[in-house]
Amino acid sequence: MIDDLLGWTEYVPELAGGLGVALKLTAISLLLGYPLGLLLVLITDGSSKLLRGLGLVIVEFGRGIPLLVLLLIVYQGLPQVELTPTAMVSAVVAFTWSAGAYSTEIIRASLAAVPRGQSEAADAAGMSDRERFRFIIFPQAARLAIPPLMNLAVQWFQFSSLAYVITVPEIMQSAYFQGTVTFDYLSVFIAAAFIYAAVTIPTSALVTRLEARLGRHL
């Protein structure tokens, strides 16, 4: 009976390699996506009309189109214009695009949430625009932005499962392969669910604690 109930655990080690790929995909696309988000904030709030329009299109497409479709646009679409990125590179491009679009909104909201009086006080104290951003606005906005940006990271780890569709050897790809060999689909996907939950639940709990800590003096 216990053996029946815990039969799925034997598949967990088989998926470890997939977990590594999933974490790598998540990490790379966030390391590229966060700076892209900041860049998009600067562009969409900037003075150049052309860049503003371009930034807006990138953000709206990145947020409004399902990530699965973005993946397919990159992986199956770019060959139409003579570009053939590998599955992993395609996944990184699509995930970075979407992560940049979402973090743009988070960063913009955090900057806007810093009270106006802070800017005025910085001006009154004779700070330059640069100093005002560097010492007054940025540190306060960063405190607000860190928890939602980390939640985004947890979400992106879950999204990494989509890369299965374009044959990136992540967790779901490994699970599906095991399923085709053993026909024990129920057990392999329970093992996959276990791995996602085992990473997501502690990380989310950590973010919640961090949020409380960072919000202490706000």
Binding site: P66, L72, Y176
Partner: protein, 214 residues
């Protein structure tokens, strides 16, 4: 090009079927789930909480595969469309219950106290006092979640539901012009989410005006 457009557009029906069914079923199932989170019995509270946490900590694709590929092993075989609707409804119920919970938390304790003071039963309190107030507050959040559900429904293509993304894939194979075809599919999703986004913004600004929320 026009031919591709027409071919993909037929998938809108299935996409909307999945999205709207899961939205409605999730919105209904979310109610008892939210009530359980406030139950006086710890076991019920814990069960509801475990359900919500478990659903949210595993990607939708995994649930979809568990239902479609895994359940037949337990004797339950579903056609792709039914599997997709069941999966997204169960996921939506968890998220909706959290949305309701947030809305309930926004109401003051006084609402309960006043209701019991005038002798309303718990059910009447929920129906006449809490319900109308909560739904006003959570309307925009529900609309936003609806957009998320619309985008998630693209996953149904992986188990063979013939919706927008599935049709786009077939058309890309046939014509070889993946970029045009998948961009078209993407723009369909953007257009479909537009009404929900506008509705959410309108309700939001009307509520803000009426209740003068900052």
């Amino acid at each position: 090009m026009i031919e591709s457009l027409r071919y993909i557009a037929i998938g809108i029906g299935a996409t909307l079927t999945i999205t709207s069914s899961a939205f409605v079923i999730g919105a209904i199932l979310g109610l008892p789930l939210a009530a359980l989170r406030r139950s006086q019995f710890m076991v019920l509270r814990a069960m509801a909480r475990v359900y919500v946490e478990l659903v949210r900590s595993v990607p939708p694709l995994v649930w979809l595969f568990l239902v479609f590929f895994g359940l037949p092993q337990a004797g339950v075989s579903l056609v792709p469309l039914a599997a997709a609707i069941l999966t997204f409804s169960l996921i939506a119920a968890a998220y909706m219950s959290e949305i309701y919970r947030g809305g309930l938390a926004a109401l003051g304790r006084g609402q309960w106290e006043a209701s019991s003071a005038v002798g309303l039963s718990p059910l009447d309190t929920a129906r006449f006092i809490l319900g109308p107030q909560v739904f006003r507050v959570v309307g925009p959040t529900m609309a936003t979640y609806g957009i998320g559900l619309l985008k998630d429904s693209a996953l149904a293509s992986t188990i063979g539901v013939v919706e927008i993304t599935f049709r786009a894939g077939a058309e890309a194979q046939r014509t070889g012009s993946g970029l045009t075809v998948f961009l078209t599919a993407g723009i369909f999703y953007l257009l479909l989410s537009l009404p929900l986004a506008l509705a959410s913004r309108r309700v939001d600004s009307r509520l803000r005006a009426r209740y003068s929320i900052a």
